[in-house]
Amino acid sequence: MQHTLIAKVENKPGVLNRIASLFRRRNFNIDSLNVGRTENPEISRMTIVLDHSDLEPDMVKNNLYKLVNVIDVQDVTNQPTVTRDLALIKVAANHEKRHEITNLASIFRANVIDVASDSIILEITGTVDKIESLMELLRPFGIIEMVTTGQVAMLRGKANGYHPNGHKEISSLERGI
């Protein structure tokens, strides 16, 4: 089961290192980690996808809270969210195959962003499933290389995913009672 956490952190040098070091130290395996700017230049936003069946997302969350530079962490796994990943995929394509590939691309609403005599680069945005479906279809043509940004997530509706009291939410409160 995948868990998606959104963390808001201070935009200061070394913060990514602190988080990476924490994950290494506590043996938390992550599936993807995205860091980027936000509407506030002092705050960066991370989307962390954990892929570990025996890993408690609360453990990860509570350890993140211990870092002084981490402002807020939210587990959005079971909340209505939009998640997107962006992939660049370079496919082998001579002029005979090019048309077939651009057709596939348009079905998936992927953009062609580079065309060379023997290759083509597609840009696709979407959920991980959508990107993987396109990859499967492109594989027979020969994928030369690909890269993804890692998932980014945002809650639907007006909620901004920010707890003013951060720390005080305890989701495992009544376990077993």
Partner: protein, 564 residues
Amino acid sequence: MYLTGAEVVMESLVREGVEVIFGYPGGANMPIYDAMMNYPIKHVLTRHEQGAAFAADGYARASGKVGVAMATSGPGATNLVTGITTAMMDSSPVVYITGQVASSLIGGDAFQETDVTGITLPITKHNYLVTSAAQLAETIREAFYIARSGRPGPVLIDICKDTQFEKVWFEYSEEEVVLPGYKPPLHATKQSLDAAVKLIQNAKRPVILAGHGVLMSGAMGELAEFAEKTQTPVALTLLGLGAFPAGHPYHLGMMGMHGTAHANFAIQNADLILAFGMRFDDRVTGTLHTYAARARKIHVDIDSSEFNKNVKVDLTLLGDLQTVLADLNPIVPKLQHPEWLEQIQAWKQESAQRDILYWEQNGKLHAAHVIHDFWKQSLGEKIVTTGVGQHQMWTAQYYVQEKPYRLITSGGAGSMGFGTPSALGAWFANPDKEVWTIEGDGSFQMSLNELATLKQENANVKILLINNGFLGMVRQWQEFFFDKRYAATPITGPDFVKLAQAYDVPSIAVNQRDQINGALEMAQRTYGPVLIEFQVEPEDCVYPMVPSGAALDEMLLRPIKVNA
């Protein structure tokens, strides 16, 4: 006023109420040392930076204030590392200030350059690299706040040498530090308090596990009130000793690997565990799947990352322990558990039979007897620090703690060499008292260079050296689990009496039980450092002992030897 960065450091330390710094000068912190001469802060030159780190930790634990240690860049800073880990594992508030090479040289492998913030990242609560004097005052203010608030811990500030020379306008804010990502919790939620009351009400065999958190939040009064109102016995962790008076009828003593048998039996047979400011270290649980298997568990802590880390619990209360107990005490009902207390009394009787007091006098000097006699002679009232090993466990067992904040020992990290330098620090926190360190011959030989510091400062620190000629705790494990193959555990030492004499420290060696009191009295009559070497039985063992991989109640108990 305009100040140099170095003066900003000293001025800020004065504003934070710092009285003493333990440290060692070097190339990259010379400007700070130069500025120090103009400020009313005492500097103690230890003989190794590790000693400075341990001393600052000892000072912090004995005073309840933030300790300060200083070192230069490179090897100076890396020598602090064991001390920083020790403070981190035991949640001790210490600020370390290290010099760093000039900011223009960073990353260039300059002389004595080390990535100190990188090295100490996982062993500090937070750390800083300061490359501009304009950031210094605010950074120091934050560092002290972070070190002492919430779950206390070590904070390191690495300051570039050019920053120490740079002139800036100095202002020191008196307001409380506000950090966007740091809000130590205080009150537990009403919902969790109510849920706790329900569990407490329904329990028949409750046990409180009291840890260092009780002492750190000053919740001793609230703990006693809770225990008495709900008739709940209290077991203590090593670092929790002193949090609940040993003479109290509900006192179970220390739990865990070398805890009392009755504490461990009580935990394993409990139907409700109330964990107050402790973290279920493997040294207190035994194997996890057999641990307190029939008990519901309530965990109260200020650090949410401790919840469900080692032991899965039924209810968590996040908050400051004193506040949480003060909220809980009025809403828990008065309860009675006569049958449970009776059962515990029976276990206590059995433990007492195996106590060292029942050993026959065989003409040999046993370490446990030395510590017991010292406890009796000093009325249990001394501030005592320890090294790590058998002597540490015997101190925990036989230097019984009636009052808080008198036992200072490296628990989580288990750092040998902690005893003597931490006693030096504890003495600076209590200069009008006598501080004792109970050391082993192995532990002491890791820090005996600090004899010179004790002498230079004429610190009123007494070294009670338990010399058994072995790295005793490892030897004990070898005796039990490695077929008595004593690999690398026999250890020689110098003639400790002559060694102390070389440092001009009065000293005496003792090898008979009837000489113990005389030696102790000599040490107490002599102001300043004194060393007493006790030449004890080489192959004694600490009992009870929970072997690793065993359940908490599967203890090796001391064989009963009753006088005929």
